[in-house]
Symmetry: C2
Subunit: 134 residues, 2 copies
């Protein structure tokens, strides 16, 4: 049921500095910063041969990553996003296995224009997990 | 220069419980637990179509992940491992860009039998980064 690792998200206090590490230190292809006001973040995509790293900096007053950066001022690994074929079937199977879905439990449209859900980190060994319908 | 994301490592307090989440909740293929006393961890590999999640539980008295779990008793995202073709060239380029290499600065043989190095999280937006020669 679980599909590709779509991305690893890293919350950063300074997205230009974080992008420069990947561009200059690693020689990676990094996108220009893109503001996603409806998601409260500015993102930079770092392309790897098999997946993507997403650097996220808070955008606006009520950014969902603001509290994480208060606890981790230097930044840190924020979440993993797994692809699933059928997000409602995946949600129901995970819920039956005891996992809690965050928010209303209904998918919303994520940063890539596809339905997403977030799962409670306490049910995934401390890891915030995003599901994205592939 | 940067290659594939070889794996995402998650430190967990109870590897059987963490493996069960991926096996039963996600329908993922998970390996049997494997003790790596020379690395101070027991690992379970979770195979995804494009990369691997490695669940790690402390093994022995001086596990390198013991302190992380003291700070994060429920577990959490521990490090990312990127593949590089030439680990010494990668190290030197990263050092020239200002990144600090942990330990002696010389590669050692990692859990997959290949040369690895770890980079200081403060130089990677709070993310502990492992380099593995592909």
């Amino acid at each position: 049921m679980i599909g590709r690792l779509n991305h690893v998200a890293i919350a950063v206090p300074d997205i230009e500095a974080a992008a420069a590490i990947y561009r200059d230190g690693f020689g990676a292809t990094v996108s220009a910063p893109r503001g996603l006001p409806e998601h409260g973040v500015t993102v930079v995509f770092v392309d790897l041969p098999n997946t993507r790293v997403e650097l996220m900096q808070p955008l606006g007053e009520a950014s969902p990553i603001a509290k994480f950066l208060e606890r981790n001022p230097g930044g840190g690994l924020h979440h993993l996003c797994y692809e699933v074929e059928d997000i409602l079937a995946a949600r129901d199977r995970l819920a039956a296995a005891g996992a809690r879905v965050l928010g209303s439990g209904e998918p919303r449209i994520g940063a890539h224009g596809k339905p997403v859900l977030f799962l409670h980190p306490k049910d995934f060994a401390g890891t915030l997990v995003e599901l994205e319908e592939a």
